[in-house]
């Protein structure tokens, strides 16, 4: 058909052909787009719509006026937050809890996986694995309930303390100084086993020939862990570290909220619990949306900078 036309009209014909080809590709696969439709609608409604809704952080939002009708407030809410009496406390509690938590909880799954990987008795290995994964399936509510029961003045921990040293029971939950340790150590108990799975998977992928060569060279198990296993799981560890740092301001709401008591608030009030209380309990929508936005911007900056640093230092990165 194209033969009839001279070269002058061939160019638009070509792009028309391409368009037709695309349309054909799309119409051939229209059912695949149907597959995707609910998911795209979901993200449009429950991810993109709230993103648009973030502009209430710059407005004096009232439910009756709606997002568009509410008057602009500029950075007023942000300024109010920065100057509020508990700004420093919130930031230091959030950062303190997450940075300390990361330092403590990050290396432990790696160590556990390296150690489990050396176990040759498969029954013992399976038993330990099944045991250490178990706490992962406990809900945060139950975990918090257990913490409250164990750490109560008559709880098992205080009984141990009294048994051993004869001290008076320690009021763990009402003293701010114990909050961080309680939070982080219970994280260790609950999450270490399950987090080790990823590393165990990476270790299973290590070429056994490298180990055999190392044995021939007279390497002990300990040396092989340090020089073969550890380097081979480093890329996995770096990716997980980037993700963890990118989430450093996103300390879980649930456990912090459940473990809060009126007297431990000076160390247990973190940004997410504050946003909930101010936003939903006191209905200061614009103000708490501003606090939330501030939080996610910091998070994004952290994620991007850690990703960049990791790229430079080790050539492993998320994107």
């Amino acid at each position: 058909m194209n033969v009839k036309f001279n070269t002058g009209v061939e160019v638009p014909m070509k792009s028309e052909n391409r368009l037709r080809k695309r349309l054909k590709l799309i119409s051939n696969n229209y059912q695949l787009y149907l597959f995707l439709l609910p998911t795209i609608v979901f993200f449009a409604i429950f991810a993109y719509w709230p993103m648009y809704g973030v502009i209430i952080a710059f407005k004096d939002f009232s439910v009756t006026k709606g997002i568009m009708g509410s008057p602009w407030a500029g950075f007023e809410h942000f300024e109010r937050f920065f100057h509020s009496y508990n700004f420093k406390e919130l930031i230091s509690n959030t950062l303190g809890l997450s940075v300390l938590g990361l330092i403590v909880t990050f290396p432990l799954p790696i160590i556990l996986a390296l150690s489990l990987n050396q176990v040759t008795n498969l029954n013992f290995k399976k038993f330990v694995q099944t045991t250490v994964y178990a706490p992962f399936f406990i809900s945060t509510v139950v975990l918090s309930g257990m913490i409250l029961v164990f750490l109560s003045p008559t709880g098992i921990i205080n009984q141990l303390i009294v048994h051993l040293g004869g001290h008076d029971p320690i009021l763990f939950m009402s003293k701010p100084e114990y909050f961080k340790a309680t939070y982080i150590l219970s994280d260790v108990w609950q999450g270490t086993g399950f987090s080790a799975i990823v590393y165990l998977a990476a270790l299973a992928g290590v070429n056994p020939e490298i180990h055999e060569a190392a044995i021939v060279d007279g390497a002990t198990k300990w040396q092989r862990i340090l020089n073969v296993d550890l380097p081979s799981i480093m890329p996995t560890a770096i990716i997980l570290l980037i993700l963890a740092v990118g989430n450093i301001m996103g300390v879980g709401f649930e456990k912090a909220y459940l473990l809060q008591t009126p007297t431990n608030l000076p160390s247990s009030e973190i940004i997410s619990t504050y946003v909930y209380k101010v936003g939903l309990k006191q209905s200061q929508y614009s103000f708490s949306a501003a606090v939330g936005l501030f939080n996610s911007v910091i998070n994004l900056i952290l994620l991007l900078s850690v990703n960049k640093a990791a790229k430079k230092l080790s050539s492993t990165s998320l994107f």
């Binding site: 809704g53 406990i138 029961v149 990716i239 949306a289």
Partner: protein, 302 residues
């Protein structure tokens, strides 16, 4: 020659020492992890005063089932159970269907515009509206105080879509699709007849991930539900375990003395922990391999 032998003997001695320490440490870790759970279990059937006085450590003392018999007669716990089972079933079904469909479509490299769609989805991993704007959307859609407020805002998890996509890319051979197309098979028929039967493993993994999430979640119920009769189990538990004895003392109003009341409340706490956690803890060792598989698929492409 003999030098090499002593070297390897030294090595195996060092390795043996390593093994002994390693097994010992792992045993201690396993005990530390399991003991709190075991303690809750035995405390739930022991005389509360032996627990409170520190007399019960390894075996139950003063066996009693009073806690469980009270729980058995406590309507709100069973209502919570019923609600949780309903939300978990409906929610997980929606989750799995949407995730598998989207994951499959995205795994096809003949899907025109696939990259644009992936970018559209991935952006949501890095930006989000946050709690308040999301709450306002749910409110605007009139979902507040309905079970859909717990389900629809969590209808799809992008992370799971990516897990499903990786699985389909690796385990559905292209030749199968080509052959089916030659035979005049549509995408829907191919998906239903060929892909789904080949993907039982990933469907199980996704269902487990989503179901555990629903079973254990309480935050959404806390912010979206106002009506006690709709409360899921975790919210009821929170009232018993965390909120200062409010409900626990409500449960035991028939008992007069404060001391007895405290005893019963403590029995009740251990009991509800067991009742609420038992289903997952009993099931998971049998499905553990699916979880492990899911984490592994996720980590390969994650």
């Amino acid at each position: 020659m003999s030098g090499g032998q002593t070297k390897s003997a030294l090595r195996s001695r060092k390795d043996l020492r390593f093994d002994i320490i390693n097994y010992a440490i792992l045993t201690i870790i396993a005990i530390i992890v399991i003991y709190p759970l075991y303690f809750v279990l035995i405390a739930s059937v022991s005389d509360p005063s032996t627990v409170l006085n520190g007399e019960m450590w390894i075996f139950p003392k003063g066996l009693t089932f009073e806690g469980y018999s009270r729980i058995l007669h406590e309507g709100s716990i069973w209502l919570g159970y019923k609600n949780t089972i309903l939300y978990t079933t409906v929610g997980t079904t929606i989750n799995v269907v949407l995730t598998v469909l989207a994951g499959y479509a995205l795994s096809r490299n003949d899907l025109y515009g696939r990259n644009v769609i992936m970018v559209f989805l991935l952006i949501t991993m890095f930006f989000s509206g946050g709690l308040i704007p999301t709450y306002l959307v749910v409110k605007k859609l009139h979902l507040v105080n309905t079970m859909w407020a717990l389900i629809l805002p969590k209808a799809v998890s992008l992370f799971n879509v990516i897990i499903a996509r990786s699985f389909f890319q690796e385990s559905i051979p292209k030749e199968l699709l080509e052959q089916a197309k030659i035979d005049g098979c549509s995408d829907i028929t191919f998906f239903a007849r060929i892909v789904v039967p080949l993907s039982k493993a990933i469907i199980a993994v996704l269902a487990l991930f989503y179901a555990v999430g629903y079973w254990n979640s309480f935050f959404d119920a806390l912010i979206y539900l106002g009506d006690d009769s709709k409360y899921p189990l975790q919210l009821i538990l929170r009232n018993i375990l965390v909120v200062q004895n409010e409900l626990a003392s409500q449960f035991v109003t028939d008992v007069q003395s404060a001391e007895v009341q405290q005893r019963v409340a403590s029995l009740l706490k251990y009991g509800v922990i067991v009742v609420a956690s038992a289903p997952l803890l009993i099931i998971y060792p049998f499905v553990q391999r699916f979880f492990v598989k899911g984490v592994m698929i996720g980590s390969v492409k994650g």
